[in-house]
Amino acid sequence: MQISQEFDFFVIGGGSGGLAAAKQAASYGAKVGLADFVKPSPQGTKWGLGGTCVNVGCIPKKLMHFAAMAGELRKDQIEAGWIDTDIQGKHDWNRMTENVQNHIKKLNFSYKNQLNKKEVKYYNKLAELEKSNIVKLIDKDGGIEFIKSKYILIAVGGRPSYPENIPEIEKKVITSDDLFWLPNNPGKTLIVGASYVALECGGFLNGLGYDTTIMVRSILLRGFDQEIAGKIEDYMMENGIKFIKEAIPINIELTENNKRLVTWTQKGIQHSDIFDTVIIATGRKSDTNKLNLEQIGVKTNKNGKIICTIDDRTSIMNIYAIGDCVEGRPELTPTAIKCGQLLANRLFGGQKKMMCYQFVPTTIFTPLEYGCIGYSEEEAINKFTQNEIIIYHSIFKPLEWNLLESHYAQACMIKLIVLVSTRRVIGLHYLGPNAGEIVQGYAIAMKLGATKEQFDSTIGIHPTCSEEILTLTAIKGIDNPQKEGC
């Protein structure tokens, strides 16, 4: 076996975590290599450098969510006085996807340049562990080379998983891997799943004008605050999205004209309907099964996620892992990035700081957006008991919604979960427009241990939705969350 190159740090996976770790390590003068290779989806979709977030996740999702919202704003435009706004105007899927994909390709290019500038050697090859310090690299034509590295970082992320009860399902459905790259609009769509992926995709498809149905096995947004999840569902239903609850698909067949005949059971009864497109969004699995981990001794859990210590070390001393492929980590870009940078700081920069996963803010970009930091109501009651927490709540209506009568007055909500003993705000939940932008700033306050009194003593900006977070007085269980009068 001939070793073609030796590195100090070799990263497998060029996504959010891998790229950040590689660049940071290189900035300390380490000799760094990175291998990124996208295995095509079962439908044949593939993409460039940058990982899930850039190519088939956060970026195209947010752009398409924006596109859908831009369309929904047309009704408000009319009430705001604009003449000739056509609310019946159709959406051009190809124009949107061309613009989205051009942006993604720009990002692929920019990442390649960044690696080059930082002198990180980039391999567009599929990597496998050959030994604990040797990586086998396979190019698209099957050509093989071996590299050696002092440290290896596994940052391979995940891919969508498929239900196992339907034969040859991969040929008949698409996933988020394919949706953003579809050459034609998806038409009448069924989305199977209850995760934020399912709801975000269903949300924007409906907003763009496609007949959208979401099929859910049990609860929506498991792990998130369920009161808010219920209101997200209400809002989506008000906007025309159909939910089929407590149902699972049992068969999918291709029809003569290439549509999908889906059969499902709901409360013991079978139903069926025809859709143009079926999107599976029932979960993601770690992309570790072809890395040869078992042979090398890198331990994973039964779902393929790598088991790591708090300092990102695997069961093999010089092999580390970060991001979505690691057990117990949030599946978020910013945490993968930060974790990768801190790891590089520890390995090459002589620093000691570990990643902190407390009070990580996040936002779901459903048609009505939901931003949250800290404990959900269920998590707080579970950890602290009902007596030790107070929940402040408010249902509010954004000022701008008052131009158009049809806006749902009870849609938006804020909840603050406060610990009785310290008055510390341990959970913040905002359901309303611009959730991501609004919630971001509060994460600093919560990290610093801000109390309800400190929130209340901060002056709000008027007129905004955000100021509602600083003026909560209604207590859940005692007061109505809705203000009376103006």
Binding site: Q101, N102, K105, K106, F109, K112, N113, N116, K117, N124
Partner: protein
Amino acid sequence: MQGHILTIKTENDWKQLVLQNQKPVIVDFYADWCGPCKVLKPKLHNLHEQSQGKWELAVVNVDIEELQKISSQYASKGIPAVYLFHKGEKVSDFLGNNEAKAKEMATKAASL
């Protein structure tokens, strides 16, 4: 009449057609997904047609795998990135869809 445009596909093309070219060469680094590149392209073509053969126009598609080293050297700040080379040396360059700078470069190229 369309002047002959040099399409750079390999590192060898770069050496022979750009660096070793007897005439001045204006090189356009572009990509198919780049909007401003599409707008600048016909402007460069026009200037080339008007040049009466005083300089050559070469184009480099930055997505070509083989040209990665060259693309990252010259196009790392963004595209369209346009360079004027003469006798293997870079004379001038500009970034973006800038018609005024393109005209300036064409004039300079014609005078070399």
